[in-house]
């Protein structure tokens, strides 16, 4: 009697523990208020089982430091600093329970559950957001160097782009007339590069016909050309295309290579729409220290033009410095939507990434697909459980009912275990769960078959039950341990969904051992105790 009581107490505690961990509870989440666009804390009631991205929809990104433009000496350090920046950005971006995590040495994982706009999220995460202010080439040093560059290019045998059309200029197509004209002009008017640059409105500004900017870009990237560009200058493209009449031009700026100030000194940034010009504008405030430095520099450059560079692109047309500027300024974004401006303000506030990040893995699942998967998975699971119950009860009768009772506890224990340890349920995990229901009866089948055999050998009911459980144990333990070992390896080596599968399998096996061996045994003990005189056992 005391053993039964002890067993019942243990089972009761397990059931209680599982139920408690599954009770819907209040979960506080930071979400975006749809009306104001601000972050707020909301509290919802839900069953505390974590759903994987493949079930609730969302984005999974793996990012690494971009080394395509030169190696990064210490990627681990860079990724650690990037992690802090990305975390700050994501916290403000407004998804619930974001995951920002360093995996291995140099890889950053970002998971945004329920996010519906992958492109925007990627933009916010990947944007380097390196802001700098540079004075344009007021002394026309670049323009003076142009003849030398043209000469060097001619010497290197570079004809005007019409002679050897690059793949890109072909892509743009339809400019053969220009090309022909240019190569004709090449004969008398030299200047492979200068013929493509039109003087802009301010010192250091050049306009390049849109269809030829790729050619110019490849020219200024050449090492021999780079050498001839004055060392104190850099060439930077404008971010926006300007149209003059029917043609569009892309501005190219020669700017000083020393920034007068960078985004590190930025303290605040807010987006707004200018009611007069109807342009999106990001206003920023510099820190006190930055403001002092800025004031000092601008005082020296009154009358000069100042380019605002974001990630190496010049934003808008460089304004002229009329007077000393203090701590406030603004970046004009033209006709771009306000949301883009607020995203820019967000990344500026969070700070620049130490190095550009490249996406090495991306998975995004729409919420509808996730919901479909849950529905189908739960349906399949329910059908599977129903069929298993039918088979077990039909085949083993009363003992089968005991097994089904154990199976119900198995389902409860598995879900409770998932919730208790905070594991994540994925779609393969859901499949693994349904599958393990089929397997969970295995232990019971082994035991019942064994009891039947012992009964067939003429043993008494009580003895047959004891022997059945005893002899079935070695097979149950051995076979389950191998499955757990395999699942454990899958967990170590696998990624997201596969790990979910492995976890569900391991918990499922633990729960099935517990329910099939311990719970069923207890039920048998109670049954036998109630009917001490029982001579036949309903095992089918």
């Amino acid at each position: 009697m005391s053993t039964i009581r002890g067993r019942l107490i243990i089972i009761g505690l397990l059931i209680l523990g599982s139920i408690v961990s599954l009770v819907p509870r209040n979960v506080t989440q930071r979400v975006v208020d749809q009306t104001t666009g601000r972050m707020k804390d909301t509290t919802t009631r839900r069953v505390p089982i974590n759903l994987g991205l493949d079930l609730q929809g969302g984005i999974h990104l793996a990012l690494e430091v971009d080394e395509s433009k030169g190696p990064v000496p210490d990627c681990a350090d860079a990724i650690q600093r990037a992690e802090r920046v990305v975390r700050t950005r994501i916290d403000e971006f407004g998804t619930t329970e974001p995951v920002v995590q360093i995996i291995g040495r140099c890889r950053l994982i970002v998971e945004l559950a329920g996010e519906k706009d992958p492109a925007r999220a990627k933009g916010v995460i990947q944007r380097t957001a390196f802001l700098e202010f540079r004075i344009t080439d007021m002394k026309n040093l670049f323009q003076n160097a142009l003849p030398q560059i043209d000469a060097a290019l001619r010497k290197a045998g570079v004809k005007s782009q019409g002679a050897a059309p690059s793949a890109v200029s072909q892509l743009f197509g339809g400019d053969t007339s220009t090309a022909a004209r240019d190569s004709a002009a090449d004969a008398n008017a030299p200047g492979v590069l200068s013929s493509l640059l039109f003087q802009g409105q301010l010192a250091g500004e050049f306009l390049v016909p849109e269809e030829q900017w790729a050619v110019v870009d490849s020219l200024i990237q050449r090492p021999d050309v780079k050498q001839l560009i004055p060392r104190s200058l850099d060439l930077r493209w404008g971010a926006q295309v300007e149209s003059r009449g029917a043609r569009s031009y892309r501005p190219l700026y020669a700017v000083e290579s020393r920034p007068i100030i960078t985004g590190e000194e930025l303290q605040k940034a807010t987006a707004r729409r200018d009611p007069v010009t109807n342009q999106s504008v990001v206003e920023f405030t510099l820190s006190r220290r930055g403001g002092r430095k800025f004031a000092e520099e601008t005082a020296r450059h009154i009358g000069d033009y100042m380019a605002i560079l974001l990630d190496g692109r010049v934003q808008g047309q460089p304004p002229v410095i009329r007077s000393q500027i203090g701590t406030r300024g603004q970046i004009e974004l033209g006709a771009k939507p306000l949301q883009e401006a607020s995203d820019l303000a967000l990344v500026l506030r969070a700070g620049a990434l130490p190095a550009p990040l490249t996406i090495v893995e991306e998975r995004s699942i729409g919420p509808s697909l996730g919901a479909d998967s849950i529905r189908a998975g739960v349906l399949a699971g329910a059908v599977a459980v129903g069929l298993v119950i039918l088979i077990m009860v039909g085949y083993y009768r009363v003992s089968g009912v005991l097994a089904v009772a154990a199976l119900v506890l198995y389902v409860l224990f598995t879900l409770g275990g998932l919730a208790m340890f905070g594991f994540t349920l994925t779609l393969p995990g859901l499949a693994g769960f349904a599958l393990s229901i089929g397997m969970a009866v295995d232990a019971n089948v082994l035991i019942f078959e064994r009891i039947r055999e012992e009964l067939a050998h003429g043993k008494s009911v009580r003895l047959a039950v004891d022997e059945g459980f005893k002899h079935a144990m070695s097979a149950i333990v051995d076979s389950n341990i191998t499955t757990v070992l395999t699942a454990f390896i899958l967990y170590i080596v696998g990624t997201g969904p596969v790990q979910g599968f492995a976890v569900t399998l391991i918990i499922g096996i633990a729960a099935s051992m517990l329910s099939a061996v311990f719970v069923t045994r207890t039920l048998f003990l109670i049954w036998l105790q109630r009917r001490p005189a029982m001579t036949t056992l309903s095992v089918g």
Binding site: A384, M392, L435, P497, L505
Partner: protein, 333 residues
């Protein structure tokens, strides 16, 4: 009262040559096909971009293909998926022709540009995106191979500790048989090999071992119980004794896998199909591969566990009509 095969008394082991032939007929062409033309690896392993879209246009795959060709993404695979207007577009990095292999990010961008241009930006909805760069693809490949290797090693070690080595080797050979058969099955159906399918294959390894262990556990017990019986008879007896369990557990599990395959949606279907097939093969191999191989090993390198079997010989040239299978009366305990 239903009692399936309660006193089953089949001479399973006698049919082993037929079983070998059946296995070979299944495995050899499949493995040859795989060696000749490879498997249909998912972009997780090859690197590339896979986009599932829900389109309102009626042009079908032809229209999407035209859009992609025009947008500079040649050679992408386009398939309908689930319902009629859902498509999966798969642009593998390896398949991207051209001088430099385009990066994954560029490929993804090119695909969405091409779709915007060809279908119209508002005419389709991206349901799912998966993009894997070449480096991650290689890593995942390595990890999958590592997982398969480790699971073999660990289960072998476990079996060596728990059983005699002869049992361990027989179980591993049966498991290798299951993996090969499953690969052949994947090749015949041209199923996509993703990480989840690899997980299914490894689960099959676990299940098949599970099944083999149940039979071997009984063999071990019977070897001690019936010391005069030869191994041929012991194997047959053990397979027969565990037959109800084999069928019941195998039945419920296959059924679950099939229910998953048909009800749980397109995403999980390859996994479920591979599981269902693997369970069938795993059950088959426990009876027809593991047991005969054990018999063969025992006849070559007789072991301590099969004392009586050594004396009586592993082969049963005279199929004494099922005589060996009838157990002698149980000695009183």
């Amino acid at each position: 009262m239903i009692r399936l095969f309660a006193h089953a008394n089949y001479d399973f082991i006698r049919l082993r040559r037929w079983a070998y032939g059946l296995s070979a007929a299944l495995i050899v062409p499949g493995v040859l096909l795989m060696l000749a033309s490879g498997l249909n690896y998912s972009i997780e392993f090859t690197g590339g971009t896979e986009i599932q879209i829900d389109s309102v246009t009626s042009g079908g795959t032809a229209q999407i293909r035209a859009a992609l060709e025009a947008g500079g993404v040649p050679g992408a695979e386009i398939k309908t998926y689930g319902s009629a207007n859902e498509y999966v577009i798969r642009a593998r990095l390896a398949a991207a022709r051209g001088a430099a292999p385009a990066s994954m990010e560029e490929t993804t961008a090119a695909v969405s540009r091409a779709l915007d241009a060809g279908l119209g930006a508002g005419n389709y909805r991206i349901v799912r995106t998966e993009a894997v760069g070449p480096k991650v693809g290689r890593e995942l490949q390595e990890k999958a191979l590592l997982a398969i290797f480790f699971s073999f090693f660990v289960t072998l070690a476990y079996l060596a500790v728990r059983f005699e080595w002869r049992f361990g080797v027989a179980a591993v050979i049966a498991t290798a048989h299951d993996i090969l058969a499953t690969i052949a099955f994947i090749r015949y159906l041209d199923l996509e090999v993703s990480l989840v399918v690899v997980a299914a294959v490894l689960t099959i390894v676990g299940y098949s071992l599970n099944d083999t262990i149940v039979i071997f556990d009984r063999v071990r017990e019977n070897l001690h119980k019936f010391r005069r019986q030869n191994l041929y008879g012991i194997l047959n007896l053990s397979v027969n004794e565990t037959l109800p369990r084999t069928l019941l557990t195998g039945g419920t599990t296959i059924m679950t896998a099939l229910v998953l395959a048909f009800l749980a949606g397109e995403v999980i279907r390859p996994f479920s199909l591979v599981m269902a097939f693997g369970i069938i093969v795993g059950t088959f191999s426990s009876i027809y591969v593991a047991s005969p191989v054990l018999l063969w090993i025992e006849s070559r390198w007789p072991g301590e566990d099969a004392r009586g079997a050594r004396a009586l010989g592993a082969r049963a040239p005279t199929p004494a009509p099922a005589a060996p299978v009838v157990p002698p009366p149980v000695p009183a305990r």
